[in-house]
């Protein structure tokens, strides 16, 4: 049943602190359609969807449903107009201690209207009726924390359906799901479509788009660059639109001597995110691990640096098997990490530059356990010079430094630790151009000194620019490895979007 419902966004513009995120974007969805929304990271998909769901206010443009203009001033207003969003983090939207039935009816329970008494019998009946449209195998009296991730998604959907939903936005719904759960999910999405709901489907996985969507819209750099019927476009065509013509950044890449294997990971698995990854890095080599958001890069990086333990698989350093119970074990073996969440995990923002730089090498600046302020100052001054950190003095608090300088400290603290393997997770995120090239230079110098570098990034161009080898990660595995100069961005994107040569899991 295709309904005539039509939601139209036209001329939507949005700026963040003077930086334009969206340029006059037009986007239209129809009831009874699955509309895939694609784009590389930072293309503006999420911003557009946040405007639609009321989280942001547009600077310009209008939103209309069946011709009448909507004023979506808050998420609650969006819900009143029947626009709902299923975020990737389903857990944040559900109350784990309550039952399935209570969660489905949460909006009704928390609204000011209706009786103050909860009628459990009629509630159960309503919830069963809704769930029968999705998946009736879920026991509605179970507590939500007992459910699997896929089941939680269903509960969240049921909650949306308990209200009058006209548009549902799915933000990368399949990223955390297993293959069979994905199939179930798509069955559900098709049944919603048949019920006349307009489904907006954000994903990075091209095969899913080609198989399940009716319409495709591609965004790039805050603009809509393509809209059309899915039958009329190929995967390569979509990739072409996603990349457009991008200018390559200059990377100061040195030629280094590549030596023996340093770090080697075999069949590393953990939960749904890392599903059997193999990877190796040699002396003097920079291995760029590229993949889209949600491919499992951060999770793999954390396992290799000892922050999380793998369920299966083994990690070798110079041929010796490691058992990493905590990051301290990795550090003492010579594997150090520069984590993605630098302000939360990489540095101590309420402390001084000196303290941040000396933390991993306290032994070197202390005698009999007593820290020598003189040695600490000297170390810090040396590092500040070598890294080009712009700080007033070593006693300045790190929270007053720019993101790029903070990142240099997160790297710099390891330089004197004698580490041999450096694991970088999105080191250029939130870093300005100048600091970026400094960071590339530091990484190049490390490789030149015979260190092994693992460089996890979702910026494909960066991976191509810096890597001696480029490993593409997708769906928790390394789907393809290219040598330097072998790959183009389009190829990387193809493999990163789930275009496999063969199924590695089989």
């Amino acid at each position: 049943m295709a309904s005539s419902f039509q939601l139209e966004m036209s001329g939507i513009g949005k700026q963040f602190g003077g930086v334009p995120a969206l340029h006059a974007v037009d986007f239209t969805v129809h009831g009874g359609q699955i509309h895939a929304l694609l784009g590389a990271n930072g293309a503006g998909k999420s911003t557009l969807m946040k405007i639609l769901s009321g989280a942001y206010q547009p600077d310009s443009g209008r939103i209309a449903a069946d011709g009448t203009e909507l004023h979506i001033t808050s998420p609650a207003a969006a819900k009143q107009h029947g626009i709902h969003c299923v975020y990737q983090e389903v857990d944040s939207a559900l109350v784990p201690q309550l039952s399935v039935a209570e969660n489905v009816m949460l909006d009704a329970l928390s609204s000011g209207q209706g009786s103050m008494w909860v009628n459990y019998r009629s509630m159960d009946k309503q919830v069963k009726a809704i769930l029968s449209r999705l998946d009736d195998s879920i026991d509605i009296h179970k507590k939500v924390y007992e459910l699997s991730l896929a089941q939680k998604q269903i509960v969240l959907l049921a909650r949306i359906l308990s209200q009058d939903a006209k548009v549902i936005i799915f933000d990368e719904p399949t990223a955390p799901l297993s293959d069979s759960e994905c199939e179930a999910f798509f069955r559900m999405m098709h049944s919603l479509k048949d019920a006349g709901v307009a489904c907006i489907f954000i994903t990075h996985r091209l095969p899913e788009v080609l198989e399940h969507s009716d319409m495709v819209t591609v965004m790039r750099d805050g603009r809509k660059v393509y809209t059309g019927r899915t039958q009329e476009i190929t995967g390569d065509g979509i990739i072409g639109h996603m990349l457009g013509k991008t200018f390559e950044e200059e990377f100061p890449k040195k030629d280094t001597v590549i030596g023996d294997v340093l770090l080697q990971a075999e069949g590393v698995k953990r939960g749904h995110k890392v599903r059997g990854a193999d990877l190796e890095v040699r002396r003097g080599e920079i291995v760029a691990v590229v993949g889209l958001v949600g491919a499992g890069k951060t999770e793999l990086a954390r396992i290799l640096s000892g922050a999380d333990q793998p369920d299966e698989g083994s990690i070798y350093l110079k041929g010796k098997k490691l058992s990493l119970k905590q990051p301290a074990d990795a550090v003492s073996a010579g594997i150090v990490s520069i984590p993605e969440e630098r302000r939360k995990e990489g540095i101590f923002i309420h402390e001084s530059v000196d303290l941040n730089l000396s933390i991993p090498v306290l032994n070197q600046v202390s005698r009999l356990g007593f820290i020598s302020r003189k040695k600490e100052k000297a170390l810090s001054a040396k590092m500040i010079g070598a890294l080009g950190v712009k700080a007033a003095s070593g006693s300045q608090l790190v929270k007053f430094l720019s993101g790029g300088n903070q990142q240099k400290l997160a790297i710099g603290k390891w330089l004197d630790s004698g580490a041999e393997v450096f694991i970088f997770d999105e080191p250029t995120k939130g870093v300005d151009i100048g600091a970026k090239s400094d960071i590339f230079r530091i990484i190049g110098d490390l490789a030149d000194a015979g260190k092994g570098i693992l460089y996890f990034t979702c910026e494909l161009a960066e991976g191509l620019g810096i890597g001696d080898r480029i490993a593409v990660m997708s769906g928790g595995t390394i789907s393809k490895v290219f040598a330097r100069g072998e790959a183009t961005q389009a190829q990387l994107l193809y493999y990163a979007s789930g275009g496999l040569e063969e199924d590695h899991e089989g």
């Binding site: 990051p327 550090v331 939360k344 101590f348 356990g369 007593f370």
Partner: protein, 328 residues
């Protein structure tokens, strides 16, 4: 302007209040500002300050130890019984309670670090257990020299003069225990600010995940903090037994909140904004001065808690108001 005033209040507020309070009492009470009275004040705060040092250490690693009060009770009764019931030599009387304190710290650490029970809840439970153990062990009696048991027999031992020196002896009018306290404060201060272990404790408390990823063994650091907390409470308990010359049941219960108050007053001393042992000591002094002065002004005992509570609220208000402003 307003910010500057606030920061000044934050930095020097506690110190100004202490000086003001001392000046006020000195002016009103002729005997307040005398050598004898000041050393008395110092003596009166030693036990609670030893306990407060332990609480400071648990707070440095972003934990909390509620079990220190009952640890004091257990070790007081333990030390007294070893001397009076079992006639043990001095070194046993001192070592065994210290070991008991360390064991309680290990239990806390096991519950918090290994089983991941929130620290307040874990140490609350341990507080009850230890409190119950010490009452069961003493069968509800205060342990005093040659005490008479219900069956008519008498305890064989009494507290030795050497042991009593610890809590009651004086050097040049200064209580020996206060001298020990000042040495302990100095050592812990050096430990926390000058050694790498102290540094590791502070960064673990400041940002545990960043500390972990920097290669610090955060579990071990936190465990040691709880063990140290138990040991310092045990020192408080030993001195308590020596001070009163007997093993009082439930001696430590009132010490818990008082030591916590001292630590939080210490947060605001010199604008530290974090647990620090010098601040803890000053916080303790402030409370000691207040109690001493109020007693001399003939205020009734039970009104003291009101004053202590107000001091704590003021210190907390200044600390957290300023800290939250500067963080956002």
């Amino acid at each position: 302007m307003k910010d500057k005033l606030l920061n000044l209040a934050f930095r020097y507020g506690a110190v100004v209040v202490i000086i003001g309070v001392i000046a006020f009492f000195s002016f009103r009470l002729p005997y307040f500002f005398t050598y004898g009275n000041l050393t008395d004040i110092l003596g009166s705060i030693t036990i609670v300050t030893f306990v407060a040092i332990g609480v400071t250490l648990s707070l440095v690693v972003d934990g909390f130890d509620l079990s220190v009060g009952s640890t004091v009770s257990l070790t007081t009764v333990g030390a007294a019984s070893l001397m009076i019931w079992y006639e043990q030599p001095l070194w046993v009387v001192i070592i065994v309670p210290l070991i008991l304190g360390a064991i309680i710290g290990l239990v806390n650490a096991f519950l918090i670090v290994k089983l991941r029970i929130p620290d307040l809840l874990a140490t609350l439970a341990v507080m009850y257990i230890v409190g119950g153990i010490h009452k069961t062990y003493a069968a509800g009696y205060t342990i005093y020299n040659h005490m008479e048991f219900p069956d008519g027999t008498k305890a064989p031992g009494e507290m030795s003069a050497a042991f009593l020196q610890l809590g009651q002896g004086k050097w040049f009018g200064i209580p020996i225990s206060a001298v020990l306290l000042i040495i302990a404060v100095a050592l812990v201060h050096i430990f926390l600010t000058r050694t790498k272990y102290g540094r590791q404790m502070y960064v673990t408390g400041g940002n545990e995940e960043a500390a972990r990823l920097s290669g610090i063994k955060v579990k071990r650091v936190r465990t040691l903090a709880y063990v140290a907390s138990g040991v310092f409470a045990a020192i408080g308990g030993i001195i308590y037994a020596s001070r009163v010359g007997s093993g009082q049941i439930d001696a430590g219960s009132p010490l818990l909140m008082e030591s916590v108050a001292a630590v939080f007053v210490g947060f605001s001393v010199f604008g530290a904004g974090k647990p620090n042992v010098i601040g803890t000591f000053i916080g303790s002094v402030l409370i000691g001065v207040l109690v001493n002065g109020l007693t001399m002004m003939n205020l009734q005992y039970f009104t003291h808690d009101i004053v202590k509570g107000i001091v704590l609220v003021l210190a907390l208000a200044v600390t957290f108001y300023v800290l939250n402003r500067s963080r956002t």
